[in-house]
Amino acid sequence: MKNKIKHILFLALSVIAMISWQKTQAQLILNCESGNRAIEQGACWAFGAVSYSNNVNHVISGSYSTRSNALSNPEPTACWVKTPWMKMGSGDITLKTKLEAANGTTRGIIVSYIAYDPNDPPYYEGDPVQFYSWNWPSINTSLYNLTIPIPAEIANSSGAYKIRISFVGTGGNSRAHGDDYVFPGTYWSDPTNNCLPLPLIADADGDGVADEEDNYPEDPYRAYNNYYPGAGQYGALAFEDLWPSKGDFDFNDLVIDYNLNTVTNAQNHVVEIKGEFMLKAAGASYNNGFGFNIAGITDDHVTGVTGYEVAPESIFSLNDAGLENGQNLATVIVFDKFKRLMPHPGTGIGINTDPAAPYVQPHTVNITLTFIDNGVLPPAGATSLLSLNLIAAFNPFIVIDQERGRELHLPDYPPTNLMNQSLFGTFDDDSNPGTGKYYKSANNLPWGINIYGQYDYPIEKTDILHAHLHFGEWAESSGELFPDWYEDQPGYRDESKIYQIP
């Protein structure tokens, strides 16, 4: 509820801010209607001994006006309002002003411009140049409308300037009010860069993303890489493929390292998802296939997939876009048969799980799932990265031993449409689709795990508990203890039980 109120207030403030000061046709306008100087300060306006007031006796127009301190100083540095950096237009600066009380010896307004000086950090403001002054003709509380011509030397400038309106005086304690300040020109400040002038931005492909930030500086259809788990880093998927029967919990029946890159454009729309899948080990006799879908992404959200390794005669039926037929969600079959890509070495159990057997070089499959093809949207329109929680939605699965209906997913991830659901609840499986429990045993053990980082898997027929020494504590604490159990840290492993790549 508190957050909701905060958001409503923020929206109201934003609307007020837009009213409080504005850029209309080549003008900056300050009318204080935000009621909060901080909002204008956030947009690079500055105030020296000048606040906002909503006292009915102070306000010139609307609900708020500026109010200076008592004007007892003739110097223009005492009480002032200063614009953000701007490119000056031409014509007149205008404002409305009045005194709060009819006392004082002198009262006046001095207007100066300040040029950008790249050699004067941290504010890069050159010396103020006074170009206009005006004195109250008599000390009274009448309203005055001032018209101040912009000097020719800065009018229609290509450089960046600030205008400072100073309220000055001697004697007495009366204050000055101001409102409806209008400055011809273009806003040229960078609120995220200490309110310095906007830099010149190089953008070769014109997509609105600066070259130095653009991962594809010469491609107007692509802007950013969003890697999981990180650029040049890999997560791992590990399965026990005797499902629905329990296995030996060595979690090496199929081991795949993977990296996902969600490529987006300048509108934060998903252009493509690139999947790099490195087949590392198959400590099993079964010849398994592997695929994935993404929750909420149907065939209409994508234009096609390339890079998969599925033989024409395989058990998988693919459409012209390369996606599996008969599925509600866009389903990618990454490979159909592990052992077609990584043949058994001829001796030992499995592939790369028996230290005594020859090592087989990992095989990598590079998938590209295309959403927007050179700017052309799919039938369902664009998919925004902001609404796609890829890793939560990423649903990888194996197809066990070429039996299409025998799928194995990560715990509590749903099957595809081609799953033989009569297998649920058989042998050691305790899945209950009605409750969303999938691929877990009666004591909630999984047959697949998804590891955030590098996974050094156990040697054949070695329980993962004996290789990764804190795996059990992690599981039994529901993830509170040793969330990094898979890392190579002191005391975390029994190296003799982990497969060592020769």
């Binding site: 901080a38 995220t192 788990p229 997560g235 919990f249 890793i391 203890l481």
Partner: protein, 130 residues
């Protein structure tokens, strides 16, 4: 006799309370010898990554200021890159290793490390009036 009864009652109470787990102590006392023996709750997700929501409150500017916003772990792994308009509110999701406690947001020259609280990272660009 009365003292005896009190002692017996006290002993029984001691035994009962000493067998009860302390608040927060929910883990089995005896380590399992095989994965098959693990005692795991039904709601354990087996996830090694946390899904985090990023919420930003924007700041209105007349010129639609826009630049690249990145979220990084403290060791510099980029979790999220988006093109962000400063005037907009933004909600997005990203993943970090489980139990990560802080991330760093970068936007132009703005850099800030923000704690993750209940899987949420929140920042407002509206300054607080001094």
């Amino acid at each position: 006799m009365k003292v005896c009864s009190v002692l017996v009652i006290a002993s029984i109470l001691f035994l009962v309370t000493s067998c009860r787990k302390s608040p927060g102590d929910v883990y089995p006392d005896t380590p399992a010898e095989s994965t098959n023996d693990l005692v795991v709750t039904q709601d354990f997700s087996w996830q090694t990554a946390d899904q985090i929501t990023l919420q930003l409150e924007g700041l209105s500017t007349p010129l639609p200021y826009q630049s690249t916003l990145t979220v990084e772990t403290l060791d510099g792994v980029v979790c999220l890159q988006v093109n962000y308009k400063l005037a907009d509110n933004l909600t997005a999701m990203f993943s970090v290793p489980a139990k990560t406690s802080q991330v760093t947001i970068k936007y132009g020259n703005f850099i800030k490390t923000i704690p993750i609280t209940d899987n949420l990272v929140f920042h407002s660009f509206i300054p607080v009036e001094e």
